[in-house]
Symmetry: C2
């Protein structure tokens, strides 16, 4: 595995790879790799000749009062995992390299952001769009891999690629789950034993909503009511939101006549968990 | 010459070219080609294996009340000129192809724009940055060619490439001039005989300012005063601005201790003419 810290080096490396006709799969991360990341790497490994992993904690996507300074880091472990999972190039830039001076051009994501988790993180996806534009231009991949756990991020990347004609295939990868269906998350360790017992209800409630669609229900309001009731009866966690929106546009729908996302966020004592399911008008899972 | 209207076709074509190890030079235009464009094409032709010319009148960079609808077009002539000057690929997309739906992500150029011509064209360079991001991702050139006549545009493209790590070399090309030094412009035909006689004074006045720097003057205020006086004595045109700014940052300077642009815009009866000169602390011309 090559560990490259220099932007020019990566661009030169990728140009050689592409001139050899070899395909490049890209997994952008903020490090502190967990099973979700490893599944992205595994998927990229299967589908490409060369796999490039980037680790960069992007200050631009953290708001005031967010946890930029305390964001967990473990370079040594990340490096070993990357090697073990067959990454060819690990790109590990410094902040100074990525942002040598304040940017002159700002990106503003004006759609897909004022819903779900985006509501409570103003500017977050602007920073995501900017750093991904940079990373896409540095790594120049054929395919880029993102986890469906953060479905809103996938929707924003979809907009970025389409709006600006990046010649990159977006590959959404299904959420990795515990045996009982709970979405894997580094935050799950903060759950009490009772909360951990209850938390699988989040995905169960979303699947119950999907079942309603499979059974012919097309009314989002009734589905959300039913999911809310189900979830409230199964957990003491406080529901932050349960939303049903078109996917990937993330607009509200009066009737389910196109692919949709059904998503939830739940506050526990020391963790806020999110999960979602994306399905078409028949309730068939379409993405991830 | 291949005439391609389809974004995918261009991307596939360029990928083949690059896999063959051949270099790509890109000349983005809004068509109605004049000698300035032809010099860009000639320069690209000399420096690259493959030359791609795009012709697209980008609605995003026209403000309300600007001349989008009446912008001159002559596809047949442009096509012949492109062929004659050795263009390999002419990319001629429709507006529907470039903007199939309203964009979700906006670019805002927050520096280098509130000076020179940018002052009177709010939002113009936002549209330029967005369409160039798209075109760069479609054409994936090694080098991109822009005329120094619009030095502010060159400065914005420089910011775009640096901010977002495009692996593209920006090549500024010197302004094409009449024998008497007047910058060539499709607007020169709107000058009266007397205005045409006077108009070379614009470049002469800027060169006089540069001579002052060569003679040791480092004070921008005195240079602008002198250039203004010179120009007012030589033409009846109304001066819109004479500015001296750092280049390419386009910030005001108290003393000439870095490369600068000295630029002017003059209103005549039926045309507004612009011109500039870029030089270093010794008055040596540096760009274009």
């Amino acid at each position: 595995m090559d560990v490259l810290g220099n932007i020019d080096e990566v661009q030169q490396h990728v140009k050689r790879v592409r001139m050899e006709g070899r395909s490049v799969g890209f997994v952008p991360t903020m490090g502190y790799l967990h099973e979700g990341h490893l599944k992205l790497i595994e998927t990229a490994r299967r589908e490409n000749d060369v796999v490039i992993l980037s680790i960069f904690v992007n200050p631009l996507q953290f708001g005031a009062g967010e946890d930029l300074d305390t964001y967990p880091r473990d370079e040594e472990r990340d490096r070993k995992l990357a090697e073990e999972y067959g990454v060819d190039v690990l790109f590990f830039p410094t902040t100074e390299m990525m942002y040598p001076e304040p940017m002159s051009i700002r990106m503003s994501v004006t759609k897909r952001t004022d819903v779900l988790c985006g509501k409570s993180r103003p500017g977050h996806f602007d920073g995501v769009a900017a750093v991904l534009t940079k990373l896409f231009n540095i790594v120049m991949p054929d395919r880029a891999y993102f986890g469906m756990k953060d479905a809103q991020q996938v929707a924003v990347v979809d907009a970025l690629i389409n709006d600006f004609n990046f010649d990159i295939k977006l590959v959404p990868v299904a959420t990795v789950r515990e045996e009982d269906g709970l979405a894997k998350s580094s935050r799950n360790v903060h759950l009490s034993a009772r909360e951990r017992d209850e938390a699988p209800a989040i995905q169960e409630s979303l699947q119950a909503g999907r079942q309603m669609v499979m059974a012919g229900e097309k009314n989002p309001v009734r589905i959300i009511q039913s999911v809310t009731k189900f979830l409230e009866s199964r957990t003491h966690g406080r529901i932050d939101y349960i939303e049903l929106l078109s996917y990937p546009e993330l607009t509200s729908v009066d009737v389910i006549d196109r692919p949709v996302i059904l998503a939830a966020a739940v506050f526990y004592e020391k963790a806020r968990l999110i999960d979602n399911v994306v399905f078409d008008t028949d309730g068939k899972i379409t993405t991830g």
